[in-house]
Amino acid sequence: MNIKTPLVSAIFLCSTLPIYAQSNLSVSLTLPEITSGQYHRPYTAVWIEDNKGKHVKTLALWSEPKGQKWLKDIRRWWRKIGRTDANWVDGISSATRPAGTYDLKWDLTTEDKQKVKQSDYKVFIEVVREHGGRNLLKHSFSLKKDFKTTLNPTAETGPINIQFNK
């Protein structure tokens, strides 16, 4: 019995994982090493909007844990969704990240965990650094076909690989 339980859960996990992973947009975001000037880890938001600019889902929000004073500096994300619900923002935010590569996934659901319809969407990456710059990157895509693309590095972002598998 003691041996069986982890086994059963392992099988359960294996059988369920592919279902959850079946359709995914993956965003591999690199925050570059910046050695010039005063460095603070950037405020970062990655999210999906529909083709009319309406918010669909925030994939990542990395900000200072203490207070919301600087959240408005993630300008577009703040305007589109951040300002609407402080409690929700508290729930999804996590600490700022050091330089490195981070893999983010979108499981094609909305904030309400509803499956989105087959349509065109945009993924946004907004990176803002105190005493540094701001870069807003976006990529439009359709859920109708697979794709793979790389967004060129900017001052505040390294290469960003975006991939979609139906």
Binding site: K69, R79, R83, A86, L136
Partner: protein, 277 residues
Amino acid sequence: MKTKQVFAIASSLIVSSFISHAANAHDRWILPNEFNASADSSKGVWITSDVTAGNQVFVFDKPFGSEDIEIITPKGNKEYPSSSYRGGRKSVFDYQLLQSGTYRFQKEVAAKYYSKYKVKGSDKPVRTRTDKLATESMMPQGAYDLEGALYFSRVETYVTLNKPNNTAFKPTGEYLELLPVTHPADIIENNETEFKFLFKGKPINNVEVSVVREGTLYRNSIEAIELKSDKKGIITFTPPKAGRYLLHATYEKELKNNKLADKMVNAIFLTFEAGLE
């Protein structure tokens, strides 16, 4: 006769020592340190604003009173600055935003009569701070070209903490008013912005509007966006760059069969921010 003249001169001095309400007057504005703030609602955010008049957007030049600035809260209540200061070149007031939503900071300059006339030997009109009837009774004999006008103006801006709302937009139905159609917290560079003008609560066309981006001192051309409201009272324009803007709207209306003034002049100064895309 002599006293009349002295009075006229004295009142003209008074007029010139005040910020003139005439068409060639300085622009006036309320300029908050930020237009869109984020904060835990328990903490609130202090907003400090300059209240000044000047000929360059936004170079402060002359102060005007900030003690009586009204703050319309996101719930529609009227409040006043917690403190204010009047300096030699600008006034300043502070106010703490404690509830999420959109606030209107406004200064309503009560309607006042101004008149002017000419006397022989001088092309420069003599200005008075009285209506036409009163001016006529005190101007010297032989004075001519008497004109009177009723001036009304609003100086306003909107500041939003966290989630915007529209309660503070509520028009009063008096004189000229600007009703945001595009929410001031949603004005974005390269995106169309829409405002609506009301006169006595109804949409009004032919309001003359000029929208100027800050920093006119540091460019050779003012780059004003000049507009006129349509039949529905609407203006639309696209801010070409993120930054702070001053909108100046004027509406003149002829007053018929009015002994006190020949026309009414309404002015609105709105300060707003166009955000980055």
